[in-house]
Amino acid sequence: MSAWFGLAWVCVLMAVAVFALLNGRAQNSSAAVYGACFLISFVGLLAALIHLISGAPESEIVLPLGLPWIGAHFRVDALTAFFLAVVNLGGAAACLYAIGYARHEAEPQRSTPFVPAFLAGMNLVVLAGDAFSFLFAWEFMSLSSWALVMAHHREEGVARAGYVYIVMASFGTLALLLAFGLLAGPQGDYAFAAIRAHQASPLRAGFILALALAGAGSKAGLVPLHVWLPLAHPAAPSHVSALMSGVMTKVAVYGFIRIVFDLLGPPQWWQGLPILAIGGGSAVLGVLYAMMQTDLKRVLAYSTIENIGLIFVGLGLALAFEANGFRTAAALALTAALFHVLNHAFFKSLLFFGAGAVLVATGEREMDRLGGLIRRMPVTSFVFLIGCMAISALPPLNGFASEWLAFQAILLSPQLPQWGLKLLVPAVGALLALSAALAAACFVRVYGIVFLGRPRFAAAKGAEEVDQWSLAAMASLAALCVIAGVLPGLVIDGLAPVAQALVGARMPAQASLPWLSIAPIAESRSSYNGLLVFAFIAMSASLAAYVIHRFASRALRRAPAWDCGYPDASPLTQYSAEGFAQPIRRVFGTFVFRASERIDMPAPGETRPARIDVTLHDLAWELIYAPIALAVSFVAERLNRIQYLTIRIYLSLVFFSLVFLLLALAVWP
């Protein structure tokens, strides 16, 4: 695949967007648009995969667009091809899902044109080969996704979500702009090839790292820059939520990898420290936040923060290893991170689709109003279960495979010579293990409350299965989760060119190992075989089922559930989402959320119900954002006076600033 091909299909996507804009109100136009986008993305996916596997050479083109003295560079290398595959896979799945889903939208023309534009923007970010096109595409991606977030702008909370999102997105772009400015240096080389050619000094590299972490990290949702994410992702229509959570965060990860691993030059060991710490913190905090939410889509959005944390832990380890010259270990850590990028795109898209299906079927996102959907929506509930298992890192699914690789990378880290890393890495390992266990608790809660038990309200009682297109999209993602989990060796081999290009080494070829197991460094160290574990489980489960059915009693009777002597328990007596989270809130909440419980118990004889009130504090918001917002409004109030000056004074302000700048130029050495 050449860069021309990539550009061509970005243009086709844009054409589709224009078509959708023009035919917004026509009958069935949204189905046609999504169908076209699906085909385009699918072809793009195939092209990217072929490029990745065939090991095609890099290709670069320069167009006379953008800044005149640079032009617009577009290039395709292994890293680009991998992320193009992720973007187009997510895009294809989302469009397939949306062919049917969009019928349920009241005003499809509010979102339809922006989806192809959003896809085009994400493709363009990955294809960009110079800073200007990168930032342009990045901003284009942000703005089109902002328009999608605002699609349901009349609903409560959406306007605020959109506002917070656009402020944070602008902040992120600003940080990236400064990062590229520092990278380009005084010569102003904005093409990636030119940036790569010269070295940044350690101090400057530190600034660039911090800015990249702020810019890409805010888009990816690292704590404490995550605040917009759980507001904006759920506010959008569900297929767009899937795109934003499953794909756009990955584009942000791409931006980070491109800057830090590729453009910044050889890493310093301390660069791994902040990435590891922030990644580990995001992983645990993200899933703890998710555990406290009762809105289904918001739970999923917070869990994205957790997964992004895992990915950044892998990246931080890779940097630390690479800086110390342990290239195979760096390749292992990087592969773990990229594998998780892929996995998260699979299962988070799947879960958001499932949430969308629940939303269409019941009109509810609040978990405590759902329940018992496994009987009303059998297919959705089955594929959602696979998604839940995958995201909880249970073997033999894909989430476990990448987590396993990450643990193996951590186990290699005692050889790192620096004390800071020696101390931080085991702690981060504990955080990873904690976040995996919390994720399992979180998704038991989601699945148990939404799909199991009895329907809590009428909406859940009358739910109906969603249309075939949506089911097809979910089922194919679920199948991918299983395949990537059972045959992780294939994925690892597919990622080898990327690792080779970025850290100069690759993991051992996995496909040649007997029985398709995977081994991180050498087989004697450790190995894991998803296929065999899967086969063993399947065999022993069917063996047990066979023996039981053959030899045990087959009598079966349906009876009411045991009611402890209080008949006709209302469905509301089931455990609620908040109730399920209570033990974990008690254990971690006082520490992390300053949670406090207040029990309001009526006096004997009173007939009002007892109440329990729980207060949680979002410390990131209260300690960081609220003071900044206060400061901004304080300054704004002070500057307010400037609005009421005469035209002469405005002119003189302009004049004096001009003179001042000229003076500065004159006295500059």
Binding site: G448, I537, S553, A555
Partner: protein, 318 residues
């Protein structure tokens, strides 16, 4: 030929754990009863219970879904696979490389995931209570186990259980604080994971204190039999794990003849008996904790595991 022998050993091991598991449960019960100056049920009582349950009619709650009927088999399969991957009487099992310690822990995590879902399926408040508490315990126990695995893996240079056992037999081990910390932490985790006193009481059906039993409340007949067997397997698995890692002596080495294999079986049963006695003694001498003290208990296990890992990370340079 060697392949066939390996296969025989592997299958013998799978059968052995399955057959021994109820006996171990019965043995612990008996030992506990004797310590409490009761007579206690016969050693074979768990087998009889399983037979009785499997002959009975299964009563399903009206609201239960298909998942409820599938889950017992899934739990059993995941636990059994995990248990058969731990070397018991012979080291170097044939399929040992297919799953390492991390995968074994995660397989048990899968079993727990499904058990918690089963608790929520029928839609009674007990099930939810059990699931919610079980997951809280798991959020602390699982990272603690992973930390223990880290400690062992850093020492042995592998997360593969057979290699860990081989390392423990070699003279390179020496006396290490980290190993002691890992042992204490592993015992604490094993107690919590198997729902023994002081975390949970396997014999209780007192509503407010149940964890494990609350999730099973709606199961009956053959489903309950399968789950009970899985629970026995899990107890056996943890004792085997402790024996395999910390007392690897007496295991038959790969390629050993039938006599050595038999001696290995004898040694294994002896180790299980010691472990069972210790468990019975511990359970008898301690009182059950409040649910919210569990987090302190397991938090301590987690800290010990982390401390062990940290010591290894730091003192590797010495």
């Amino acid at each position: 030929m060697a392949v066939i022998l390996d296969l025989v050993v592997q299958n013998a091991q799978m059968l052995l754990v399955l057959l021994l598991a109820p006996l171990l449960t019965g043995f612990v019960r008996k030992a506990k009863a004797r310590l409490q100056r009761r007579r206690g049920p016969s050693l074979l009582q768990p087998y009889r219970d399983l037979l009785r349950l499997s002959r009975k009619e299964t009563v399903l709650a009206e609201e239960s879904s298909w998942l409820f009927r599938v889950i017992p088999y899934l739990i059993f399969a995941a636990t059994w696979v995990a248990a058969s991957l731990v070397p018991t009487f012979a080291a170097g099992l044939m399929f040992n490389w297919s799953a390492d310690l991390i995968a074994i822990i995660a397989l048990l995590g899968s079993a727990r995931f499904f058990l918690a879902l089963a608790g929520m399926d029928v839609g009674t408040s007990f099930g939810g209570l059990g699931s919610s508490r079980e997951m809280m315990i798991a959020t602390l126990a699982e990272p603690a186990t992973i930390m223990i695995v880290f400690t062992l893996a850093l020492l042995a240079g592998s997360t593969q259980l057979s290699q860990v056992a081989a390392f423990m037999l070699s003279p390179a081990v020496g006396l290490r604080v980290s190993l002691g910390l890992a042992l204490v932490a592993l015992v604490m985790v094993a107690i919590a994971e198997n729902g023994r006193i002081p975390i949970d009481n396997p014999a209780t059906h007192l509503e407010l204190t149940m964890v494990h039993e609350a999730m099973l409340l709606e199961y009956s007949g053959r489903h309950l039999a399968v789950i009970e067997l899985a629970a026995s397997l899990k107890l056996l698995l943890y004792l085997s794990l402790i024996a395999c890692v910390f007392l690897p002596w007496g295991q038959a080495q790969p390629g050993a003849g039938p006599a050595a294999q038999l001696a290995g079986v004898g040694a294994y049963i002896g180790k299980l008996a010691v472990g069972g006695l210790f468990l019975a003694w511990f359970e008898t001498s301690i009182a059950k904790m409040r649910v919210f003290r569990v987090s302190d208990f397991l938090g301590a296990a987690l800290m010990l595991g982390l401390l062990g890992t940290l010591l290894l990370f730091v003192s590797r340079s010495l």
